[in-house]
Symmetry: C2
Subunit: 288 residues, 2 copies
DNA sequence: CACCCTCGATAAGCAACGCTGATACGGTGC
DNA sequence: GCACCGTATCAGCGTTGCTTATCGAGGGTG
């Protein structure tokens, strides 16, 4: 189970083609064919059907493992390399769109920061693999409960603030005048599914303990403005932290009153932050 | 970052010796030396000090990554192999000591089951790497909150029951006659630290949100009887699910009333259980 | 229906890798 | 000072893993 073979396998599976994968990886088609053959022999099961190229049941299984595995591998390499490298100048901060509130903006130093807005699930990976020095992730949680993050690597997390959540409705929506909404009343509403930018519907289902929350329109991207525009146009409801939800033209932001959920944002980093990173950490963690 | 090199590295770090590691792995000392050199060159940083052999800062870091990585690798291999292998006859069940309640015992089929009692944190790993077909893990949680399990692999979990937790006290203890105890009152008591058999003190600290719960005696093992005997002899308090705590000679089991915590047990397995495993799953999950 | 073109499997050749065995080097204990 | 233990290094050799070349099976086209 050489990581190289694994990498080849996921590439082949993604592109559904040996030759394409070979081109992308800089190998010959022959080498890719041998890689897959080696993997299949090693594991004792066919992983791909040929013509068309598609994963078998066992192959699907392997794909689920391969992603996190390769990610962890990168994380380990980056983590160790970071210990040896010269102390970096310039600070890179990875944030999920809804995690970038006014407090965060205020805490940034005047210069020398690179800000990366990534989809929520990519933030821990970016921090782990060295793409960013600090990360800010957010999500729905019961008050004072920590978030559930994918453990791509041993990361340190600190709570960096909690905020009420609001449902963003078009101003003309029948519920827009309410002063509070219950999640249970919105199970059958049309929702926007925006795993990158908004709060994932899966969180809602978990919080409500059941099915429902059928997506009306799926938005792939990390631009909060695009998302709020969609919501204003009536394409579906979105759940947002209050700071992001209030003041959007053409919409009303109604607080969610039940269940008691908060928008929690957490600061994540590897090891102990040094230099400029440490200063930002301190500033973000001091209680207002 | 060949897994072989990684495996060699962790072995060397564990045994603090190149030669010993070579013996254990079936290599020559020369090969081990070359492995480590290759890793260090690849990562661009020294990982071990020689004479004495001990991990450097970067090496410590790598060690934190290496364990989960190798575990995941094993899990992936086992998972795929399982899909190809003949349907196993005989069912292996891995359980944490305190997860083995009367309901579980009742749900087992009359014959053909192998039961493995493992330390709590080893159960998911055993299921993932194919050492067991099903696992039962337990822990402290707020009512209806899922447990936080290490994600060694994509595992499916189901809640399999919740139960009140009790503090196990020697019968002569001043608090033994109480009808309920608050966790806050016990922060400074003497506790048994039994990460394998009892509920880990770290869970208590997390639930209480602070330090305290200093361990008086540490018990490494998975025998619940040994643990209760220690508690009866006054070596420290233990938190146990009610079923395990009541009826221990020489002790009193006092329910924990605050914070509202339950002992939750969850069933974990990979993919979809087949044959005998499916039957046991059904039986464990049907609401009593 | 014959043709070609694409895509994956297979064979041969060659360079690089990774292991072993032998040896050099640097500590430690007697 | 010498023997001993443990790691680093070197030469040699078998194996691995890549490339180039070729084959065979489908699918589309004139």
């Amino acid at each position: 189970m050489d990581p190289h073979l694994l990498r080849t396998y996921v590439t082949v599976a993604r592109l559904a083609s040996f030759s394409e994968a070979a081109r992308e990886l800089g190998y010959t088609q022959s080498a890719v064919s041998q890689h897959i053959a080696a993997l299949e022999q090693d594991l004792g099961a066919p992983l791909l059907t040929r013509r068309p190229v598609a994963p078998t049941a066992a192959g699907e299984r392997l794909l689920e493992h391969a992603g996190p595995l390769l990610l962890r591998l990168d994380a380990a390499r980056a983590d160790v390399a970071r210990m040896a490298a010269a102390p970096e100048h310039g600070l890179t901060l990875a944030v999920a769109p809804t995690a970038l509130g006014p407090r965060v903006v205020a805490a940034l130093p005047a210069a020398g920061v690179t800000l990366k807005v990534l989809a929520r699930e990519e933030v821990p990976a970016a921090v782990a693999t060295g793409g960013a020095d600090l990360g800010l992730v957010d999500g729905l949680a019961a008050p004072s409960d920590p978030l559930r993050l994918p453990d791509v690597a041993p990361l340190t997390t600190h709570g960096a603030g909690e905020e009420p959540v609001c449902v963003l409705l078009p101003a003309s929506h029948p519920l827009a005048r309410r002063t509070g909404l219950r999640l249970g009343d919105l199970v059958d509403a049309r929702w926007l599914d925006a795993p990158g930018a908004g709060l994932p519907l899966a969180h809602l289902r978990a919080a409500h303990g059941g099915a429902g929350f059928r997506p009306a329109l799926r938005y792939e991207g990390t631009d909060l403005c695009a998302l709020t525009a969609l919501a204003a146009a009536g394409h579906g409801l979105v759940l947002l932290p209050r700071a992001a939800a209030v003041g959007v033209p053409g919409t009303a932001a109604v607080p969610l009153v039940a269940p008691r959920l908060v928008h929690r944002t957490e600061l994540v980093h590897t090891g102990s932050p040094r230099g400029a990173a440490a200063a930002v950490v301190d500033k973000l963690l001091e209680r207002p």
